[in-house]
């Protein structure tokens, strides 16, 4: 077994322990810290899988800002979880059903490490990985590209990356799916506006904030 597989399994085992710990622990500060460590270990796991963008997001958002905001919330709510009554069977059934559906959805994905997976049958250029490719590897200047564009009006993309930048994740997110990302940004703006409308000035002025 290769070293990277052993590392992956160790990280995944650690992730499972951290998740169970974050659910089971009564002190909410401990729970927040455990979920933060969970995100950090998850980021390490993405790194060993060469998913740089996901690892970066997990570290910045999962381990960083989520922890800060959760601690800010704990200042308001208190730090010890109240003991709840025994298992709620409808909730457990719903959760198990949703989890089973999600796992069923992953059955169509290629197996982990499958050499016939699309990610492996469409290999990246070596230069693409090194990210040292000029935009026009044939040495075409911008003027040449303009001439090419004039001669071939249907071909808008004359470079190595079909007109996209070397980081294919960013290329997909803000170019190919730019419309989707625009409304994700709008959703974040909406969340901020809702907080301003609901919470701003609530503590200073008890007349305001009657909505919550």
């Amino acid at each position: 077994m290769s070293g990277i597989a052993i590392l992956d399994m160790s990280l995944l085992a650690l992730i499972v322990f951290l998740a169970v710990g974050a659910i089971e622990v009564r002190n909410l500060y401990s729970a927040v810290m455990l979920s933060s460590i969970y995100s950090l270990v998850m980021a390490c796991f993405w790194m060993t899988n060469d998913a740089w963008d996901v690892a970066f997001t997990e570290a910045a958002v999962g381990a960083g800002i989520s922890t800060i905001l959760l601690i800010g919330t704990l200042v308001l709510t208190g730090s010890v979880e109240t003991v709840r009554k025994a298992v709620s069977w409808p909730a457990l059934a719903t959760t198990l059903l949703a989890g089973a559906l999600l796992i069923y959805g992953t059955l169509d994905m290629p197996r982990y490490g499958d050499p016939k997976a699309p990610a492996h049958t469409h290999p990246m250029y070596g230069a693409f990985v090194r990210q040292d490719v000029p935009k026009h590897p044939s040495g075409r200047s911008a003027a040449d590209v303009a001439a090419w564009h004039k001669a071939n009006p249907d071909d808008k993309h004359t470079d190595f990356f079909h007109g996209h930048v070397p980081n294919q994740v960013t290329s997909v997110i803000v170019s190919y799916r730019a419309f989707d990302t625009m409304f994700e940004t709008a959703v974040i703006l909406t969340a901020g506006m809702a907080l301003i409308l609901l919470l701003r000035g609530r503590r200073g002025n008890p007349q305001r904030g009657g909505l919550i």
Partner: protein, 161 residues
């Protein structure tokens, strides 16, 4: 807020580094890992760290609320404005080719940079808004409390640059 001098010194030294790293992630968004969302989150985390250590009122002094309110909307405006610009130039919505029609491969990164700045500004400002609103009024020092444990740093600000 905390009166622990170690926390105060470390926060004061770390915050500019975090801001610089956020800007680095932002401007390299289209060629490296990361992008507007990560950069905005790191930028906001720097100011939130400052707010947690020095108090929310101090954070709102260095980053006033009207800036974070306006920035939240400005980011979406930049993003949508990039799309509207390409529509005005006769291309489909958010087709970055409109920015430099004679060189589509060169236009793509510029469109993405513009869009990423929109995402980064909105995310940073909204994260700071969330922190401001959920912690407002919870970290005020008690009246008469001596909260200044590192007087030298405040009296002689040039000492740390």
């Amino acid at each position: 807020m905390t009166t622990n001098p170690i926390m105060r010194v470390i926060a004061r030294v770390n915050m500019p580094l975090m801001v610089v790293f956020a800007v680095y992630v932002q401007v390299h968004g289209e060629i490296g890992p990361g992008g507007g969302f990560q950069a905005g989150v790191i930028f906001a985390a720097a100011f939130i760290l400052y707010g947690m250590v020095f108090g929310g009122a101090e954070m709102r002094r260095v980053f006033p609320r009207w800036i974070s309110d306006a920035g939240s909307a400005l980011g979406v405006l930049i993003y949508a404005g990039t799309g509207v610009y390409s529509m005005l130039m006769g291309y489909p919505f958010l087709d970055h080719v409109a920015i430099w029609p004679s060189n589509p491969g060169g236009a793509e990164p510029w469109g993405m940079v513009s869009v990423e700045w929109g995402v980064g500004i909105t995310v940073a400002c909204v994260m700071m808004t969330i922190f401001n609103e959920i912690t407002e009024g919870t970290d005020d020092p008690p009246p008469g409390a001596d909260t200044e444990m590192v007087p030298a740093l405040h009296q002689n600000k040039t000492e740390l640059g």
